[in-house]
Symmetry: C2
């Protein structure tokens, strides 16, 4: 007997009723993950102390640049930093001390309170891909993204059981003027989904629009007292904070809205070609960015971000799902926990042009690492293709299905009396079969994670049905989800108020396409 | 700026020379992995003690069956077990006590000493797929495996940089009579590769043939004093030890050859539909099997095996890359380490019919879990398709490439002065670029894992070259490897001796096809 017998099918446990149930589209959304398994701690205490010491050395001796931002320089000077030109040198210990007022856990409210998420501690909140100018699907190939694509991705995110968050720029709606598309994007998140979402960061005025639209949706007082957006502020690595991103951060911090403060690093290009060196720079940048957020408003909610990929030294291309990116992600998680900050990293990253095996290897490597590195907020958790240039319809539902694996992994092992199953082992005995026993009957429905997408059919059935690969199955699922989509209920007055705001703001500006 | 900029290519660091170097086939084989990262311990002390207590309860109260094996029953009776019919009930503590004489680390010798492997401690040894009656390739589709396929897979394994072990039944050569194919398979491993391999277990006489052929290859005395085979002994779960497998185990144990003693479990069918219950049964079975090996010969080298998959309760199909299989694999690793035994589990498992995204998600989930669960010997590390029914040519080289990721992950983080890279951070400063700096130039060649297969090309180049997916790239790599294959040197007298042995043994038996 060899392991090939694993290919044998075991009869029983099935039934047409359950198959029908499974093929129906469900609108359940799982609660955000609360891990019941440990994180993987790859750095020992000595390594952590070296990196923390070095990061402070970088802040003190090399410093960071705050570009075209005199007000920021003034705040830093007031806090005790040395400012020369745009260079800010931060005395050892000061940035860490300023970071202490940032909360360790953030509740982000959704318009449907059942969809509220908590970011921090042992939580993991999953949000879709962010930023691609292109989309790809199995029938239309690769093309520039439009507002219709954007709405479709918001709908797919709303219908995904395992996605807790509607995200932000799920793709760039390139058919809408650059200076107006944030309005349509926010309107889509607010009305087509009831999950939490992100605000615009491409200009301070667009961040302000995001806040004002939230005031229409949630009420002005609620927004001032609660976090209703988590927005993505990238640091221009190495060690540079530009005025556009900082301007958006300032708007959000002043309005008590959360920001992910995230070095944007292709290792070997924007950071040293070594893991410890990259972690040092990441920590220095986050310390400076988070400290600055607390100078703008003490207690402003922020997240320790790390977007890290390594570079292929042959082609110059960024690479994904690689061991070095994993080392950095694991290590940055440890550094974030020692700072007491929520942690953003990970994603279904890949460099592949197609949602093929390469895409899936790389994405699965990244997703597993993100779970085990203690990530609290995972952007790009589904739909990312081609190094982030493309939002893929099929990969969106493929990755989203795999997010169910993370939910079940995070549960850990049940060692209750029922979990121990000693009665079943006694009942079945040597040479017996567990399918019919009482314990199996009582537990099988919830015992194992079940895919909504992948193929487990007998070879002959699979062949008769067209020998479909994962992309073909995903394409059919995308069609079914979009066909079955129904808008979640929203107060008509609120919807009208949002639409009016968008129309008014659009009228107030000429179109801009760059 | 959004993360989409990851899609931008960075110039530099490349060059035609390095591209040429990369496309050449290399015959380096990496040394087996010695982990420098921690294992993930998902069970706490209380959970471990519950499972260990319950496993002893199972052995004592339920017992195990040794089928058609009076000599085994006699050994058990002599050791103090209660034997009734074929049922063996083992008093609490006895099996664990007997296991104590099994070594915690095994050196398996290869005919090329540079390929010797150590199994145990923090090591990880990678071996290819085992057992499939079918093969699949991109051009020929799915068909019954032949001896030519077998030889091809041995060649691919020999040429893989990241595979340390030639494996055993890399596919079933169905064109050779059942009672003779082990001779051809062993001859292929012994002559076409110089990596370590596995012996036959399908009959005790075939195990004896394996030992005798090794005596020709290594010398009789060497074989008696050293381990030169690691063979796969499956337990017929639940709790049943059949006479064929035990007969093979007895031959190997008496000849000081290693066996993997491995429960073969589809969770929900051959074990309870719960993780803790399955772990209890796995531990009980391994305790009984390893204890028996030590009754046959004290000190016989054995490995704690766990082949575990869960069942899809809709279709009855075994499933792979699932969270429950991961929980069991992590937990079984902890149990093996507490027993002080080397641990076999994991593999590039998948249920998919094609080497598509499903196959890659499932395989990557399994490979990551195997590394982090402390596996010492990983069978099925590449080439497994369709629940183990198919050996896939393309998936063999796809998975084998991903095994490089595991090697680099296992290295952990270098925090030496060079790793810290403070000179580079000081040199580059805010807004600079690392590609040209001295530290990057000195380190880039070995800093990052590099694929031999996956696509990182610019979109336009990739499109011009035919927009190939991973399977197409893998198919080309398979062709190139088989074309470039050269047999490793072997003493002509030894090769002739082996060929004579095979011819003589084949003549001595009529063909049997079942």
């Amino acid at each position: 007997m060899s392991d090939v017998a694993a290919g044998r099918r075991v009869r029983g446990g099935g039934g047409a009723a359950r198959r029908a149930e499974r093929s129906a589209v469900s609108l359940d959304t799982a609660r955000f993950i609360e891990r019941n398994i440990p994180n993987l701690e790859i750095l020992n205490e000595e390594a952590l102390q070296i990196i923390e010491w070095n990061a402070e050395t970088v802040l003190e001796e090399v410093g960071v640049n705050f570009v075209e931002n005199p007000a920021a320089l003034e705040l830093w000077r007031g806090a005790g930093a040395q400012v020369e030109g745009e260079r800010v040198r931060i005395p050892r210990g000061l940035a860490r001390q300023l970071c202490a007022t940032a909360p360790s856990r953030i509740v982000q409210h959704a318009r449907n309170p059942a969809r509220n998420v908590e970011i921090g501690g042992r939580s993991l909140v999953l949000a879709p891909v962010y930023g691609p100018p292109f989309v790809r699907d199995a029938t239309g190939g690769r093309r520039y993204a439009t507002m219709e694509d954007f709405r479709n991705f918001v709908k797919l995110g709303y219908m995904s059981k395992w996605l807790h968050h509607s995200g932000g720029t799920v793709c760039e709606p390139t058919d809408i003027p650059v200076n107006k598309r944030h309005l349509d994007m926010l309107l889509a998140h607010m009305t087509l989904s009831d999950k939490p979402f992100m605000g615009s960061v491409t200009e301070p005025s667009r961040a302000q629009d995001s806040v004002e639209m939230c005031e229409i949706l949630f009420g002005r007082e609620f927004v001032q007292q609660n976090t209703v957006m988590t927005s993505l502020i990238n640091i221009n690595s190495p060690l540079t904070f530009d005025s556009v991103m900082m301007g958006a951060l300032e708007v959000y911090a002043r309005n008590n809205q959360a920001c992910v403060i995230s070095p944007f690093i292709v290792g070997g290009a924007m950071a040293p070609v070594s893991v410890a060196g990259t972690l040092t720079q990441v920590l220095a940048e986050v310390l400076a960015g988070v400290a600055y957020s607390q100078l703008v408003r003490k207690g402003a909610p922020v997240i320790f971000g790390a977007f890290v990929t390594s570079i292929d030294m042959n082609s110059g291309a960024p690479t994904f799902g690689t061991p070095e990116a994993s080392h950095i992600t694991y290590g940055a998680g440890q550094l974030a926990r020692r700072l007491g900050l929520p942690y953003r990293s990970g994603g279904a990253f890949c460099g592949s042009k197609l949602p093929d095996a390469q895409a899936a290897y790389e994405s699965a490597n990244s997703l597993n690492m993100a779970l085990l590195s203690g990530v609290n907020f995972m952007l790009h958790a589904c739909g990312w293709l081609e190094g982030g240039l493309v939002s893929s319809y099929e990969k969106f539902v493929m990755d989203a299905d795999q997010l169910g694996v993370l939910h079940h992994l995070a549960k850990g092992v049940d060692v209750s009396e029922n979990g121990q199953a000693m009665g079943a082992i006694r009942e079945v005995g040597p040479g017996g079969h567990y399918l019919g026993c009482a314990h199996t009957q009582a537990n099988f429905k919830d015992a194992f994670w079940r895919t909504d997408l992948l193929d487990y059919k007998p070879f002959e059935t699979w062949e008769e049905e067209g020998a479909r690969d994962t992309v073909a199955l995903a394409s059919a699922r995308v069609d079914r989800l979009l066909r079955d989509y129904q808008q979640p209920q929203i107060d008509p007055g609120v919807q009208e108020g949002l639409q009016d705001y968008v129309a008014r703001r659009k009228e107030s500006m000429p179109d801009a396409f760059v």
